[in-house]
Amino acid sequence: MEIPATLIINQILFGLALGAVYILMACGLTIIFGLLDVVNFAHGTFYMLGAFAAFVTVSLFGNFWIGLASAIFLVGLIGWVTETFLIKPLYGKDPLYPLMLTFGFSLAATDLMRGIFGTVGRIVPLPQYFIGSLMWEGIFIPKFRIFIIFLTLGVLIFLWYFFKKTNLGMIIRAATRDSLMVRTLGIDVPRIWTFGFALGVGLAGLAGAVNSTIQSALPDMGVEITIECFVVVVIGGLGSLGGAILGGLIIGQVISFVSLLASDWSNVAIFITMLLILLVRTRGLFGEAGRL
């Protein structure tokens, strides 16, 4: 089968946009794991909460941008409360406890949202200026996908600046390596952890808000993406932000090209990719525990 060059370029562009959402999700998961050593099984649930936060605020205010911003802040706030009252008491205990807690939280939150919003998908309308595609010589990409790519790029630049250049970011990085030492300097490390958790789930909320405009907000929408997000993080290496970015890019391209060449394999292709990478590098591409 001969594949035109423009089609390959288009698949790369669409794969990039797909990967961008995975990157947002995986960066959040990585921050939480790297900082707290918590495997957040509720990450997809915070993604879902972000979608509903966008739905509610866009319905109330009719503004897409308020929807995006509220998804980060409302979900971050829920994350702050969750970490403070539910996860914090489990620090220092068996790592299985927070894992089970986040799993239970995801089941409870999903059912709660079913009770409130029902099981019918809620639509977040896309602003008119994002509808349509940019086209040039057979190459095309929808405007909103370009926005997703640049939004993710902006978030990554923010994260880089935050972790490398700000005092708070440097304290967080230090706390991931040696929290005891940071504590002896008089820094309130538990509050740092809470902030890190809120930041991580806020990114998941943002991803949910973005996807609610091209899919629908549904209570069980977080289930599948949680699994995919873990695949991305495992490929990149647990605790590595660079790994999360590379993992997201790889999975985006894998889905894009498998969809083109053998669409009925698109569901399993990401798992085969993970398997192959783990066979070569058992800790993932950049795996090194406890590093941001």
Binding site: P4, L7, G121, F130, S133, I214, S216, M221, S259, D264
Partner: protein
């Protein structure tokens, strides 16, 4: 109305009598919007039957619940009601795959099963005698939409197919009719069940540039692909979009993206009330109860439930499965689309397919689309002999399978 919701603890009405039927719908999962409509149709039928004196002189009690869009869950819940409550008539489900599994279970356990959806249980080895269908066989909407499309919209076509029994049956029908009517098949894309991001397929669709793109997916997947085609700015160009089994909810939620380029197959559309007086009565009663017009899944739930309960009155039994089956064979109805029946040989409802064209941004109030054709059942349903042997559609070699 006397309805008990399975496992939810919700009971409405007086649950004094013993339940006589168990109905399950996908109230959660990717088909939840459609499953909810189906339940609403069943509730209306139950209410009407009870208003007319109930079943065998008593208010009918019917158990309704969520099958969670999973065959094992559906079978477990049906089994609990059959074993625990002595129910001998079950109904519902909204998936070709799940209904085939439930039908197999019903046959083994000698329980009457009224499927409300598009299902292949009247075909070939699935035809076991205990299953009836108030929806239709998937190939029927495939045949109806394909015939309409090749006559009116163009010849070259590409299809996105949900990768399970329902999607395969629709694809078979399209391939068969395409060959008969000189269609030009340009390719198929299989889509896993529950897929909600189709963006990676859009470059291939654009590069192939068919006159007709067949959207052979259902539920949330159908809503998502339309949204993403619209987002890419493709729904108001030259390409026509044909959906073998569309849905009122999808038209509503797709909004302006469901343009005049969209043509969907439905077993019911509310404007049929202009043609059939009884459809008007059905639409008005449904609107009064639920505050919205009925969809084709409302119709499937309504007709299936009403027929099942009326058959119990005619057969004078709620538990004698043989008598109920004998009654339902050839059972004549005139509920909401003119005279219909459950064909005696294969237990399929003889009903037409309505083709509804989108109106995009012009949609307002209840006005979401325009009926452009009604294809009679005689033009879509194969003979008893063909269905028994699952020909011709069951013998089609599907691409990549």
């Amino acid at each position: 109305m006397v309805t008990v919701f399975l496992f939810t603890g919700l009971v409405s009405g007086v649950a004094s009598a013993k339940p006589i039927a168990a109905l399950l719908f996908p109230l959660s999962g990717p088909f939840s919007a459609m499953g909810t409509d189906m339940r609403k149709g069943s509730e209306l039928a139950l209410e009407e039957i009870n208003a007319q004196g109930g079943v065998l002189g008593q208010k009918a009690e019917v158990v309704m619940g969520d099958d969670e869009f999973q065959a094992p869950v559906a079978i477990r819940k049906y089994k609990e009601m059959v074993d625990g409550q002595g129910i001998k008539a079950i109904g519902g489900t909204l998936s070709g795959g799940i209904s085939v599994a439930v039908n197999e279970w019903a046959c083994k356990n000698k329980v009457l099963y009224m499927s409300f959806c598009h299902t292949s249980i009247p075909l070939g080895k699935e035809q076991c005698g205990y299953g009836f269908v108030s929806g239709m066989i998937p190939y029927q909407t495939g045949v109806a939409t394909a015939k309409y499309a090749f006559q009116n919209l163009g010849k070259s076509w590409m299809i996105v197919t949900q990768d399970y029994r329902f999607g395969h049956d629709e694809l078979s029908a399209w391939l068969t009719i395409s060959e008969k009517m000189g269609g030009k098949f340009l390719g198929n894309i299989y889509s896993p069940l529950g897929q909600v991001d189709y963006s990676a397929h859009i470059p291939k669709i654009v590069a192939t540039n068919p006159e007709i793109l067949v959207i052979n997916v259902y539920g949330q997947s159908m809503d998502a692909i339309i949204k993403q085609l619209g987002e890419a700015g493709l729904t108001d160009k030259k390409m026509k979009f044909v959906i073998p089994k569309s849905h009122l909810f999808t038209i509503k939620t797709s909004g302006a993206f469901y343009t005049e380029n969209f043509y969907g197959g439905h077993t019911f559309y509310w404007t049929l009330q202009d043609k059939f007086p009884k459809a008007k009565k059905f639409v008005e009663a449904y609107m009064k109860k639920h505050g919205e017009p009925p969809s084709q899944d409302s119709d499937g739930g309504y007709v299936g439930t009403r027929a099942l309960l009326e058959a119990m009155n005619v057969a004078k039994t709620t538990t004698d499965v043989d008598k109920l089956i004998k009654t339902l064979k050839g059972f004549k109805m005139d509920y909401n689309k003119g005279p219909e029946e459950f064909r005696a040989c294969d237990h399929i409802r003889t009903t037409s397919v309505v083709i509804v064209r989108g109106i995009g941004a012009k949609a307002s109030g209840m006005n979401y689309g325009q009926v452009v054709a009604e294809i009679p059942w005689q033009d879509t349903l194969e003979s008893c002999e063909n269905n028994k042997n699952d020909v011709p559609y069951g013998k089609v070699k599907l691409p990549g399978k």
